[in-house]
């Protein structure tokens, strides 16, 4: 199978697979509700008049179990209505929790208002749902919450946009701090964020585009490497070399340096040596290397073929304290890099 046919297969799957399955896209916009709940509540009608089947409902259904009264029960409508009106248009609701009204109604003795403190009114497009604090009034979910064990109560948090709650603020310089938060809370991140979201930046070994190239219209987002980063990358790399190394291996840097003709190993060399005059004097390049060896690795990390080896093979290159931290025998035996200079 060629890569071209794979691309075609991928496109066909995207276009046809989802549609052919008969799935329907999530309703982006519901029409406004028309039923005035407050008028009926003030008239003294019980919720069960219209939501009779809710007492047997073990799941949150698409029609919120609306069954308009009929027969004798319809008499309750007649003081205001000449006849029982047609049921309002059904709304497709976001089904975001697993919940059994049948199990819960006995505990509140049929008093729906214990949980439903607000009801949807005409003109609204979203029905208010009881907040999670309603659940935790009776249920202790502290450990589940702390461990981000949202399922099975929450069906799928990834399906609807949540605003970060107080415990996980996406605030201040979140681009810099989110990594630290993820160290001890990656499961929490995963409760809302699919890995496809993380991969947009963190799949550095495979991803082809910078985020701001892929989404030039997201001007308010805090993207790393926005704009003309090529001109700034050496400055940022001097300021925080470890940050570069979290995502980019040497080969990533070297591939570009090679192709742009700024590496000694480039097939086509352009311009002058990227290093300043007198660089090869040990005092200049040695001092710079000690201050930022990671930058050196951007071009000079080819093991035994590295240009550093040529000169340093016969001169002790190790920093102070090296011998105290390393066992030469075991290091040389266990790391082929050492054997470039040291005999086993």
């Amino acid at each position: 199978m060629t890569a071209r046919s794979l691309l075609l297969a991928a496109a066909a799957l995207a276009a046809g697979g989802c549609i052919a399955k008969g799935g329907r896209p999530e309703a982006a916009e519901n029409p406004p509700f028309t039923f005035p709940h407050s008028t009926h509540v003030e008239a003294g009608l019980s919720c069960a008049s219209c939501h009779a089947s809710i007492a047997q409902a073990t799941a949150v259904g698409p029609s919120v179990h609306v069954t308009l009264p009929a027969g004798d029960e319809a008499k309750a409508c007649l003081p205001c209505h000449e006849q029982v009106p047609a049921p309002p248009a059904r709304h497709r609701l976001e089904k975001t929790i697993t919940f059994s009204h049948a199990d819960h109604l006995p505990y509140v003795k049929g008093d729906c208002a214990r949980c439903h403190t607000a009801l949807v009114e005409p003109g609204q497009t979203k029905a208010p749902v009881p907040p999670m604090s309603t659940c935790t009034t009776c249920h202790n979910h502290a450990l589940d919450y702390a461990q981000a064990r949202c399922q099975p109560c929450h069906v799928d948090l990834k399906r609807y946009p949540l605003k970060p709650v107080a415990d996980f603020r996406h605030a201040v310089d979140f681009l810099r701090t989110h990594g630290e938060m993820a160290r001890s809370g990656v499961a929490t991140c995963a409760a809302c964020h699919e890995q496809t979201s993380c991969a947009e930046c963190h799949a550095g070994a495979t991803r082809p585009l910078k985020p701001d190239v892929e989404w030039p219209d997201k001007v308010a987002a805090s993207f790393i490497h926005r704009g003309d980063y090529v001109s700034r990358h050496t400055i940022d790399a001097s300021f925080d070399p470890a940050s570069c190394r979290r995502c980019h291996g040497t080969a990533y840097c070297d591939a570009c340096h090679n192709e742009q003709g700024v590496s000694q190993r480039s097939p086509v060399r352009i311009g002058s040596d990227p290093h300043p005059a007198g660089w090869n004097a040990g005092v200049v390049h040695g001092a710079a290397a000690r201050q930022n060896i990671v930058s050196c690795a951007g071009c000079h990390d080819q093991g035994a073929r590295s240009t550093c080896v040529t000169c340093h093979q016969n001169v002790d290159p190790h920093p102070p304290g090296w011998a105290q931290r390393h066992n030469k025998t075991t290091d040389v035996a266990g790391n082929s890099m050492c054997r470039i200079c040291h005999v086993q």
């Binding site: 071209r4 991969a199 082809p208 219209d217 980019h248 990533y252 290159p317």
Partner: protein
């Protein structure tokens, strides 16, 4: 490994990943599908010569969640990959085998995840990102397991091979993966203290064909001793070098509902971010300490101010980084923002090399009018010392977008720039994006 074998592996991996989706799509509660087609026409300098290149990208992402099956709860299949073709010269820089191949691509993610034993065990297999603890973020071909134990305890572990681009360079010098190597194993044990937070201990070992690449242990803690206050700390120790690699402390305090203050400290030995079998790992010890903080203030509902400053202490020098940013959202469809910033490093007493910095200013805005939207973004960087004999870098980008409906949207973007490496540069991008979430079944 020859590039032919690499391409064959890539084709097989893509085919297997896509093929596995077909039978399960209909069994999922929710399927998120995303497809982005991008045509970018831009100037591109290669070794001193200017070319006009036009790569065409297709990025595809499919996620099927809560797939019905008799074995696992919450079964999930995720695929994310891309393909690209070069119209004209193939000079996309990350292509390691130019210019013979005009069609290329890669797989970002392809995994299956499910929960077993009443959701106490979570398993994930395939190409994935593993994160947390001392591991940081690692793109891995392998397996990851999380076991939730009683009393808030838990343990997670992973094993596999760090991902290499286009399956062409597993391990060692040619992989783009910063954790170079062909074998990785690690994990984290944690204890959740309700309601205080979580403490964890973790370890990671990566081997590069038998040689040590990374061998570290670490600890982390997240505490909320008081609802408005969050404290985070982590540290890692390198077992090969016998010294601390990194320590971070971060505190965030919600002083007022509209005022958030943060402060942080970081110590890092950047040289320990090189693989231990890198020849450059033996030359030096590089140490840096950074301290700073930030304030986010939203005096009015639509306006947010952000200030952030950090001071860097390096062995022979120092650096500063500061940014001020404001965002105004006068209506749901309009955003205006501006930011100014400064970053500099003075690390070399001789005053020559490594010392540089920049001031930057940026203004941006976006407006949505029904299905139509537009953005404007201008950025200017002024360097303290010249870069490629130039003092400034300017780039301006404008976009026009239109929502076609049924999850489809189109975007046209144009950018003009004058930078140290391009006297004048123009980019044009045309994008057709499809993003849709399908609910295939009512919730149980």
């Amino acid at each position: 490994m020859s590039s032919n074998i690499g391409r064959r592996r890539l084709a097989l991996a893509l085919a297997a990943s896509l093929g596995s989706f077909v039978p399960v799509l209909g069994r999922a509660d929710t399927v998120d599908a995303s497809s982005t087609t991008l045509l970018i026409v831009r100037d591109h300098a290669r070794a001193g010569t200017l070319y006009t290149i036009a790569p065409l990208y297709e990025l595809l992402s499919v996620s099927a969640r809560n797939v019905q099956n008799p074995v696992a709860d919450g079964l999930q299949l995720v695929f994310s990959g891309w393909g690209a073709g070069s119209i004209g010269p193939n000079l996309v820089w990350y292509d390691t085998t130019p210019p013979q191949h005009r069609v290329f691509g890669d797989l970002d993610l392809a995994y299956v995840q499910g929960e077993l034993l009443a959701r106490t065990v979570q398993l994930r297999l395939g190409r994935q990102l593993v994160a947390g603890g001392v591991t940081g973020s690692l793109q891995l071909d392998g397996a990851n397991a999380l076991v939730r134990l009683p009393y808030g305890f838990g343990v997670s572990g992973f094993v596999g091979s760090p991902v290499s681009q286009r399956f062409e360079a597993s391990g060692s010098e040619t992989t783009f993966n910063p954790h170079r190597g062909n074998f990785a194993v690690g994990g984290r044990a944690y204890w959740t203290l309700v309601p205080w937070g979580e403490v964890g201990a973790s370890a990671v070992e990566i081997k590069d064909r038998g040689d040590p690449s990374r061998r570290q242990i670490g600890g982390d803690v997240r505490l909320t001793p008081w609802r408005p206050l969050t404290l985070l700390a982590s540290t890692s120790y390198d077992l090969y070098e016998h010294r601390w690699a990194e320590t971070n402390v971060l505190g965030q305090l919600q002083v007022l509902p509209k005022l958030l203050v943060s402060a942080d400290y970081r110590h890092v030995d950047p040289d320990l971010f090189l693989a231990r079998d890198s020849i450059l790992a033996v030359f030096t010890i590089d140490r840096r300490d950074e301290v700073g903080g930030g304030v986010q203030y939203g005096p009015w509902r639509a306006v947010t101010f952000l200030l952030d400053y950090h001071y860097l202490k390096e062995r022979d020098g120092k650096g500063h980084r500061a940014i001020a940013r404001t965002t105004w959202r006068p209506s749901g469809g309009t955003t205006l923002g501006a930011e100014i910033g400064f970053q500099s490093i003075y690390a070399n007493p001789s005053g020559a090399y490594l010392n540089n910095g920049y001031f930057h200013a940026r203004a941006f805005g976006s407006r949505r009018l029904g299905r139509l939207s537009g953005t404007l973004d201008v950025q200017e960087y002024a360097f303290q010392q010249q870069v490629n004999a130039q003092q400034n870098s300017f780039i301006g980008t404008a976009t026009v977008g239109y929502v076609l409906g049924c999850g489809l949207s189109a975007l046209l973007s144009g950018a003009g720039a004058s930078t140290p490496y391009y006297e004048r540069r123009f980019d044009l991008l045309a994008k057709l994006a499809y993003n849709q979430s399908y609910q295939l079944r009512e919730v149980r």
